[in-house]
């Protein structure tokens, strides 16, 4: 048994936290881009594509992220745990973001679409210039909730060898053989990241609300 000082523990877990935090922007960006794209396609009522996207969403909602992670890691020949983790988590969370975006688009009054059409905008232009800018206020809380789930799902990626918080914790445990304080500390690390994200979303919601409640001179 080797004694590891508290400061050393924090430092090692902090390195793990950096790895976790460096996964997040990629997963968030990919799932947001994919989700918005699929959400738009889903609300434009295309016959076959629509069913395919629904199937994808249902399948992803049914499969545990761990299985998706293993499937990607063992079958896609990516050779890197980090890349498979990003791919797997993005694939998984894109489905949820798709649902959220579809809901957001459905909450915009139909008159907005008609108004866009009546000034001779193409469908894609209506989406890009009129509908999508409006959905953020609506979907921000749900989106933030989803990304907090994403943070918690990153705890799983240590099973494919990504050196994140949980992995760092297990390394320390192999030195000290005392799991009790280490898992407590790991929990604290995740708690802090999730709480920060939550506060960030509250802040963003406020910003969006202020922005939306001050019309910039035009008729709303």
């Amino acid at each position: 048994m080797i004694h590891v000082s508290f400061a050393a523990m924090i430092r090692m877990l902090g390195e793990g936290a950096l790895q976790t935090l460096s996964l997040l922007p990629f997963c968030i960006a990919f799932s947001l881009a994919g989700g918005v794209l699929l959400g738009i396609l889903q609300s434009s009522k295309l016959p076959v594509l629509n069913q395919l996207i629904s199937l994808y969403v249902v399948v992803m909602r049914g499969i545990p992220p761990l299985i998706i992670l293993f499937l990607v890691f063992f079958s896609a020949n990516l050779e890197s745990g980090v890349v498979s983790a990003i791919v797997a988590l993005s694939i998984y969370h894109t489905a949820y973001v798709t649902e959220i975006v579809r809901g957001g688009i459905a909450s915009i009054p139909k008159g907005q679409f008609e108004a866009g059409k009546s000034i001779a905008l193409r469908n894609s232009r209506v989406m890009y210039h009129i509908i999508i800018p409006q959905i953020w206020r609506q979907i921000l809380p749900a989106l933030a909730g989803q990304y907090i789930i994403l943070v918690k799902d990153t705890a799983l990626v240590s099973v494919v060898g990504v050196r994140e918080i949980l992995w760092a914790g297990r390394q320390i445990m192999q030195l000290t053989y005392d799991p009790f304080p280490i898992y407590l500390l790991i929990g604290v690390f995740f708690y802090v990241i999730c709480t920060l994200l939550e506060q960030l979303s509250v802040l963003a919601e406020k910003r969006v609300r202020i922005y939306a409640s001050v019309p910039r001179g035009e008729n709303r």
Binding site: V58, V59, R61, G62, I63, P64, P65, L66, I67, I68, F70, L71, F74, S75, A76, I148, V151, K152, D153, T154, A155, L156, V159, L166, M173, D178, P179, F180, Y183, L184, I186, G187, F190, Y191, C194, T195, E198
Partner: protein, 217 residues
Amino acid sequence: MDFTWRLVVQWGPQFLEGLRQTAYVFAVSMVTALLAGTFVALVSSTRSRPLRWACRGYISVFRNSPLLVQLFFIFYGLPFVGIRLSAFYCGVLAITLNEGAFVAEILRGTIQAVPQGDWEAGESLGLHRFQILRYVVLPQALRNAIPSLAGQASIILKDTSVLSLIMITELTRVSGLLYNKTFDTTGYVVVAAMYVTLFLIITQIAKTLESRLRVQR
């Protein structure tokens, strides 16, 4: 991604055993999570401030940290302070504590959504605060919570896959064992299909329950 039908047949009994174990863990932890969540939601709608704070603390801690960490804490950490539980009970305990917080949060929302007039009506009938909760508010709150609870049920189903990491031989671990023996990802595909099927069954049950319990107003 490889898929070999031969392996599906060969490992049939193991898959069925894994399915049984997954269904068992799911059923047990679903019930305990519902009970824990209802209890916490009830306690957090009492007037006592310390109790409410305790509930908020519990919900906040367990909602904002990963299930896997809680599971490892219970499985590896608790024996060091003298509490020894089997892997199965560790798994159920972790899922219960984790999902109990989510269920409590859902029910807290639906309890608050019950109109104030219902409380006053109960009081005017001379019911005790607890009786109002038990007979007037909770039945409505539970019924309104069914869609959210169904979503949570499907998350609990997915949570059970994490138990493979503490050596419980449920579906995910069976597919892992198959991969370790054959380097063939068939197991993951089969198991994924089984999870989706279970998910669809849960969704269907929730839909039926919802339409059965709908009240005509």
